[in-house]
Symmetry: D2
Subunit: 312 residues, 4 copies
């Protein structure tokens, strides 16, 4: 199957279930994929930030891609993150995930090293040249401390370097500009603009975006698929109601933050995994090290969010 140009729809960043010993829990991962595919999602994004890719060893990353690719058997596109600091290291990941069958790679700006926009552009050109599959840019300044400028993204789109953008920047104004130009410029075709926001999917689609990559879609894939359908049908009132239900559900990401014992990442990923465990999808809610686990009362609060959203 050729990679869709543009890729559209709901493409969850697939969580990585772990065993209590913090190995990849393959049976749980397969059940999670079934849970997502059964709900009608349009693609799968493995090894993203919500997948704890930054916490997985190279061996574990390979196992994740192989498992998911083998299980979906080409039924829908599988995108893989290649999260690492610089071009040579990212290229090693590109080689590994494409050998394992990924249909596209999702690549952040360089990080750790202090990076100039010219170096970021060079990074994408070098990765794209040597990648056997399409490259999507992953704009996530909270993690890499660089915002991909809209001119840079659109320029690389026009060059054919980038096939799409996953925007987790939180800058909806810049996102809208990319959507508008990607749709109107003659030198850009088939470019996919996807929001990484859980909270603004209706707004992003109303602006003309192609789809969404919400971490919360692990927990409620049917909700996001329904939301996508309502937006595509132009039923904005019901779309808003569905989106607001999902916004309320998303409140779960804060259950661990209030206590001051952990950061926002531990809390959010802990909550997603606790929810998947409570819903019976995965066997164990553990997150990778050095993240701090949720306490029992925090897990209980996750359960209340699920109940309030009609998911328990």
């Amino acid at each position: 199957m050729p990679f869709p140009a543009p890729l559209t729809g709901v493409v969850p960043p697939v969580c990585t279930p772990l065993t209590p010993e913090r190995e990849v829990d393959v049976p749980s991962l397969v059940r999670l994929v079934d849970h997502l595919v059964g709900a009608g999602v349009h693609g799968l994004f493995v090894l993203g930030s919500s997948s704890e890719a930054a916490h997985l060893t190279d061996r574990q990353r390979r196992l994740v891609v192989e498992t998911v690719v083998a299980h979906v058997g080409g039924a829908l596109p599988v995108l893989a993150g290649t999260i690492d600091m610089t071009t040579p290291r990212v290229l090693d990941h590109v080689a590994a995930v494409t050998a394992a069958g990924a249909d596209a790679v999702v690549v952040t700006a360089p990080f750790y090293a202090r990076t100039h926009p010219a170096e970021t552009a060079r990074h994408y050109r070098l990765v794209s040249e040597r990648s056997p599959v399409p490259v999507l840019a992953y704009d996530i300044p909270a993690s890499v401390h660089t915002k991909l400028g809209q001119e840079l993204v659109l320029g690389l789109a026009a060059e054919g370097v980038l096939a799409g953008l996953k925007d987790s920047s939180g800058d909806q104004g810049a996102f809208r500009a990319v959507v508008a130009e990607a749709r109107t410029r003659a030198d850009i075709t088939g470019f996919s603009v996807l929001t990484g926001s859980e909270l603004l999917v209706d707004a992003a689609l109303a602006m003309g975006a192609d789809g969404a990559v919400p971490g919360l879609a692990n927990v409620d894939p049917a909700g996001y698929v329904r939301l996508y359908g309502l937006c595509r049908a132009g039923d904005w009132a019901r779309a808003r109601a569905e989106q607001e239900r999902l916004c309320a559900l998303f409140g779960m990401v804060g259950v661990g933050v209030a206590g001051g014992r952990m950061g926002a990442g531990s809390s959010a990923l802990g909550a997603f995994k606790a929810a998947l465990h409570l819903r019976g999808v995965i066997d164990c809610p553990v997150t990778a090290e050095p993240q701090v686990p949720l306490a029992a009362d925090e897990v209980e609060r996750v359960g209340k969010y699920l109940a309030a959203a009609g998911l328990l």
Copy 2:
């Protein structure tokens, strides 16, 4: 040889010479080690930021450690960086560099993931538990966007988790506090406090620091060894003169920035490598991708810095 407690002296972060094809240039690396050891440095730090560790593949990292360890043959301690995002990935590097013979590991705070101080502490405890060699903390907020708090460092020192600190934070006040407490607290012994600054070695040693890890010591190791000796002898006037000569030489790191074509990292590492090439130590001044290379006139300016410092 047991690892010194505390480690003292000049411990250059060893640059990684590359071939034009951007493979590790082993003969040049060996010559660089000879250049450093011959000048009297007290230890070697491979796979640090100045080594472009963020740009080296795992295979290249292993080759660097094996080469340097084999060449120095235990004559002086070899520390190795394990720069990666989180505990599981860092532990893979710890295993690799200690298998290759490193005498200690130098470990940053987690990055990419949003990290809470409790998670940072947990990271160091887990790495230390599973490392066969001493662990030094590497405080480099410009790269990892987290500052290691002085209480956290001192607490982990007292627990025996950390054997030392390489401070590249630029916060001399906090550095001084760590030096002062590490020397006076009864529950902390043998803890090594090293500055990563090129410009403040005399000041750091005057405050009681144990040593320095200056990237510029690749270019002028004899200068830093001389500076260290003058400080240890209490000859502060001549130390200052030597330090100021080295400060002027350090100006080379800006040769590429003015043009607006590259970032500070490309410029600084490009300048160090150009200087090593001009001094006849390494065969090729190329830096790893996606860094932008210096132009001919910028290399020429590096030569002028060398000449002004009496090194050409």
Copy 3:
């Protein structure tokens, strides 16, 4: 007229026309007010960031409020910014602008001093206690380097401290949360949630926001009034088209940035004033010191944006 609870509609942050000697140009200011009121805006916000309030002396600030209040004569509400660092200084501005007739004050978090959320809350409570008119919070982290947390804003709304929020934070997810809670919580009534974005007015209103405070409404007030009406009528397709026309027009804010001679503020405010001058509303496009003026070719490009939007 009592202050509307909630305030709704289009409330432009009124630019402050200056003479070539950089005094307030009262006749131009009056013409600008007529231009806005004539287009049907629902309120006026003087002494905001787009008004260059940070650049106006106390005497000039007073003159602006007196002029605008006198000219509109109660026909629509006049809100005034009180931009300053801390409580005592803000209270002096509150006294001045309410003496001059302002119907509400718009107050940022403290800045310059390092401020804790408890201090920010205390600031709003103290200002509100001593203000004779309603207080709206002005969330503008790009200027004050503090984001107003949604819990803080909603808590102060429930206490009756805040009458509304002007959100210039760029964080649409948090904005949506405030809108949703302000509408559903029983302890919050009449609270006005206004977006400060030029680019996302349709999206904000679709989420349930009460109105918008877009700087670009100085240049095209009729466009924003039309956009507001289309959104209120639920005609989202035509609203989007109008919004996209305004997004394209907003491109003018970048005319000065490309040259590297000035910052984003000089460029944006210079462009708004150049546009008002080209449209014949104000006599002189000069901005306050130390901002850098646009060059002739940059002004020409502003004209092209106006022409493309059908405004020349």
Copy 4:
């Protein structure tokens, strides 16, 4: 008395004692000045950050300058801060403080507005042109979120725009570069380079700095005067011991932070004022709004710091 070129020595940023009603406590201010002058300080800096200038109304600021200038009667130079956002507002403060008798003004980069380096340079040129007294630059990125580049400072020094630099940036490397160039460049004479650090005065003077502006000198002026003398005499060992005693005393700034009830500013200024109150210099330790006051146990801990330093 002409303003010294360069200004040298210990120049405390004078705290502003307040009454319980938060008016300037003139008798306490006079006693504080006597406490400082009696200890042998070389100048006084009023309306700086440690003076809570950001929290004082214009009327209060004027009263402070008038009081201090009248009381010292020309016996030593009085510098005054003009902390405000932009050129026109700063010029109003320059007029006020020089009318009140200040011998020099200390001026930060613009803040609140997003400022380009060219605008910062323009700001200093405009202020200097219109100031009747010398202008020192105040580099305090923690407050204004802009670092004054060393080239900018040295360029303005060479132009005669700036008479000196108060460096509160924390970047000792850049500070050293300014010191070195200011001493060696033929086109710069009489330029005063002062550190704003409490913790690094010996180090700064060893590098060639002209003096120090430490907030803690309110609490222990004799200590800083002694430290300055030891450094000037080249007695580095005793200087270090004195500096380390002051470093330990400086620990008081953290007494309020641990509780999570206040920010670092409230804690530090609260501690300085509590110490002055405990030492009998000022009548009331209150800080300006919206700062949070220290609790009784926190004040007690301030007392322990004083006792440990031999000051109670």
